[in-house]
Subunit: 342 residues, 4 copies
Amino acid sequence: MPLRVAVAGASGYAGGEVLRLLLSHPEVEIGALTGGSNAGTTLGELQPHLLPLADRVLEPTTPEVLAGHDIVFLGLPHGQSAAVAEALGEDVLVIDCGADFRLKEAADWERFYGSAHAGTWPYGLPELPGHRAALKGTKRIAVPGCYPTAVSLALFPAYAAQLAEPEAVIVAASGTSGAGKAVKTHLLGSEVMGSVSPYGVGGVHRHTPEMSQNLSAVAGEPVNVSFTPTLVPMSRGILATCTAKAKPGVTGADVRAAYAAAYADEPFVRLLPELQWPQTKSVHGANSALVQVTLDEHAGRIIAISAIDNLVKGTAGGAVQSMNIALGLPEALGLPVNGVAP
Amino acid sequence: MPLRVAVAGASGYAGGEVLRLLLSHPEVEIGALTGGSNAGTTLGELQPHLLPLADRVLEPTTPEVLAGHDIVFLGLPHGQSAAVAEALGEDVLVIDCGADFRLKEAADWERFYGSAHAGTWPYGLPELPGHRAALKGTKRIAVPGCYPTAVSLALFPAYAAQLAEPEAVIVAASGTSGAGKAVKTHLLGSEVMGSVSPYGVGGVHRHTPEMSQNLSAVAGEPVNVSFTPTLVPMSRGILATCTAKAKPGVTGADVRAAYAAAYADEPFVRLLPELQWPQTKSVHGANSALVQVTLDEHAGRIIAISAIDNLVKGTAGGAVQSMNIALGLPEALGLPVNGVAP
Amino acid sequence: MPLRVAVAGASGYAGGEVLRLLLSHPEVEIGALTGGSNAGTTLGELQPHLLPLADRVLEPTTPEVLAGHDIVFLGLPHGQSAAVAEALGEDVLVIDCGADFRLKEAADWERFYGSAHAGTWPYGLPELPGHRAALKGTKRIAVPGCYPTAVSLALFPAYAAQLAEPEAVIVAASGTSGAGKAVKTHLLGSEVMGSVSPYGVGGVHRHTPEMSQNLSAVAGEPVNVSFTPTLVPMSRGILATCTAKAKPGVTGADVRAAYAAAYADEPFVRLLPELQWPQTKSVHGANSALVQVTLDEHAGRIIAISAIDNLVKGTAGGAVQSMNIALGLPEALGLPVNGVAP
Amino acid sequence: MPLRVAVAGASGYAGGEVLRLLLSHPEVEIGALTGGSNAGTTLGELQPHLLPLADRVLEPTTPEVLAGHDIVFLGLPHGQSAAVAEALGEDVLVIDCGADFRLKEAADWERFYGSAHAGTWPYGLPELPGHRAALKGTKRIAVPGCYPTAVSLALFPAYAAQLAEPEAVIVAASGTSGAGKAVKTHLLGSEVMGSVSPYGVGGVHRHTPEMSQNLSAVAGEPVNVSFTPTLVPMSRGILATCTAKAKPGVTGADVRAAYAAAYADEPFVRLLPELQWPQTKSVHGANSALVQVTLDEHAGRIIAISAIDNLVKGTAGGAVQSMNIALGLPEALGLPVNGVAP
């Protein structure tokens, strides 16, 4: 009997991508779909690419509507997930695509989000050491942010192997879907096409402490992160260019060996052959991450670059991958590994 | 035991897309992959989005390499398919993604392609009346051109129901992958981004007689086609805007009824609800076609618009759909129906 | 002494483009800039590309603010121009970038705009027969719609020379700036990139009667127009593909001769050499229009295609060109003729 | 009497942009236009956006053709400029848009370009301390690389004021025109649209020593540069994200003051108001650079970001600006300051 899944926030980009993936998942059945201001609208108007669900009508996001499901995905504005999860009870697998339960330190949460800390749930990035075990059997999953996913996959092997100094400098390019479906002038097609623009510069982007948390945990020391995100003219994809000074004596072979070991058995991360660099299009629509690394000997820095689809590995795919682990299903079940290119 | 498939021309866009779809198909196993000048190169360098095939090396396109497969897809330059098919023998299912066997009239072929007519194979557009039956059990399939697929799906119900005068005016917008992977200055990103450009104007595009052939067959009278293709700044997708004068007395209800009937049971074509128009992004990466139609009473014209992904429903997806029919498999097996959007 | 110019609606795309052009115009001085909800904001925040005006603050659109200028450009929502123009008085040159005064027939206006007809002003498309004369010395100019500009330039020579049957079928592709700066979900970058979408299909787009008006006037008979606009993933540019049946006996040479004669002395329209087709990028940022035409003998249709920048020749450039004529200045003064490409 | 200008390499992107700017320059007259394999072709086919030059035919790049001009712009492949310049003689102003004469250290040249060092010419980035003086009256100008222009403008004020540690980490995003007009598979529109891709990673990009040279000169100590360029889906524009550790005790106010002082009187560089960040579209087609800077106190790094148009301020505009200085003309003569946006 299939597992019954509800999606709260089905009109947004994260919710839509969760649905696209679930429609190809052999063990689930799609139940209630809810929206905020879009309740009452058909999904065909809001997500015309999800053909089998075109006639489904969005319901309001209430405990009653979400009740009676085995799994509930939440794609809600910050601060709303805790109450919904509590109402669902402890037997329901709740997967929060929002930020509410990602950070361990209340001080980080309060500084970057300006509200009270809701708590911490098992973190849905199975590739990080120890996380796969923590996800098994859990009923609560905090889906990582898209940038922290890309950055952590690019850098954690270097930190786990003690190869890099604890100061990372990261510049990431993201497609516009990362900014969500809310209508804002600077996200208009006329504004973004033909333009690259930075935002959240100077250490203020909310994903910064999440990156630092992930890298510090594997490094065993606090890793300070300088993070600059930029918006580029494409719908999907993140390319994270991550650099850190190499610790004294580290060689290019050390770096390569650490990454090869870290990703030898990962179903969704591919360390590219030397000299080939990742590009976002290769993972468009896929749950895969492409990673490459090199040592710039003149600058003395490790340069690690990852490419993911922000809506798949960076959100909905990571969520479903973690769901599979939590439920004891094959980890890769129902998830696309090939990008849609060109 | 899975069916063993070879792909000749695996380095191109059509070949790459055939592979992407076959990787998700439960009944096939990917055998030989061949290329022309790219023989000897790994697929990881040529098609980095096809992760499971990254280490496969392209072989030369020879009868020996292609022998021993149940199915062979051909993505070859015009004029090369006949010899390859003959060498493969009559028991192998040969699916030609090129143009060689699409046209029935030798005169049409000679006028538009400037060489001798190779023949005519069953035409892989199952939605056209009679074509599904012709594909069952066949060992030879001519995959339609991408524009003729989009145009035929948009217009055939009007002609089949005798609603339209036999002069169609069609303007289609296509993503650049339709022009293939050959390097030409006008296909450079710097040239195509921010630009729309027509080409093959004035009745000279090679897909024109193929459209006329398809529409004439259902109309029962020769349908004259004025076709203008344009290149737009996106990788994939075709939007075909097709208009024809309505025959006297035809009403909007007649038009709608004809289309509703034509597509009521089609797994890959969706007639949109009234007032909603197709957009190419909704079918990005999917084998689906979205169709909408209206009667402009002031102009007296039927306006029918379809959106497809030129590489999926317009090439590789149509090929696999036809393969499924030919082999007696469920027609939709292994084919994506949802677009990757946004 | 320079002419003093005010721009009402300076925060929008049309207003911004008027300013960009006026900043290079040797005979004008930029006075008041007004906005609606943006009054009080610096232009540097709203139009960061207009560096010399970055510190200017938008004022509210009131008669007091607009008073005391020689020329006033209006980039206002439909229905607001008449009152503003009346308050300015008869000595001020008022140039309306909106639709209010474009249509001659009140019935057309009421049917397509759903409000009372404001009147008709001299129409700012100097290339149309007789229009240049009507613009000389005028104090009121109705700037044409962007699509009617592109379509009229593509087709009027054929109609003026009695070469085409009075039924035109037009499909146009437009960049998203044509839809303005208002925030709407379907105009988000995430939605438009990678997609082509039709809108206003079936004879309901408001520019339809304006095209018909222009073509009918030169044809000397009513020209029925079937018009389908599509949105393509670029910021600027219109490519209009316009076809009409050739009248009996018309030859390709007739067609070419008519276009060559029509555009022999036009400073901003270039009839391309045979076989070269216009692309929008060639006129990006320029007031130029590129036109090409051919006779499809098999289909019996004239195919005429034009490319313009919707914000320049299609709006602000056409406005400044008409301003030059009205003021007795050299027609091309201050206007860019070269596109910014690639 | 106008100065007579020849452009060698007029079919490429740099040459085309030089011509676009010269067409608006009041003191020059365009003479010979030359090309390599394109000699004999009209400019209308190669650069259809340059309407007034459409009928000009490219000549071969020979000393005879280039003789008799006051100014010669060179847009030639690496290694060809020295011989051409020598043949022209010392009285002709030769402006090399290529790399041959940019680097001071022969060792740098040999390491990154793999050939013998041709020499060093005055460097056409007038905003760098001392460079304006060096350009006055010169007959030889080395136009800077596009990335070094963007990076130097972003970072030199910090180094000139001794605010930054001598290790800079730079990630830059560039439009595809920076890669030139040569046809390569990875530059096809189908490949670049929807994708971000890094290249020249790990300290191997040829612009790296040029950046280091510029920053070291103002810092008075060697500045080590880690540089990662990425290709983004747009035709034009560079966004350079440049960071360096702040020296001990440096405050945000120090940083701001240094930049405000550096750019107070520059005609083409605008330091944005605090909190507003540059975007490439604002300078599309313009010779302007937008710069913003902040101090990330948590990370202890100065984050400086610049946006330029790689073909204008990054190549042709910087060349014309330097030409104006060399000739004693007003520095900004004929150069566009406003971007073409949206």
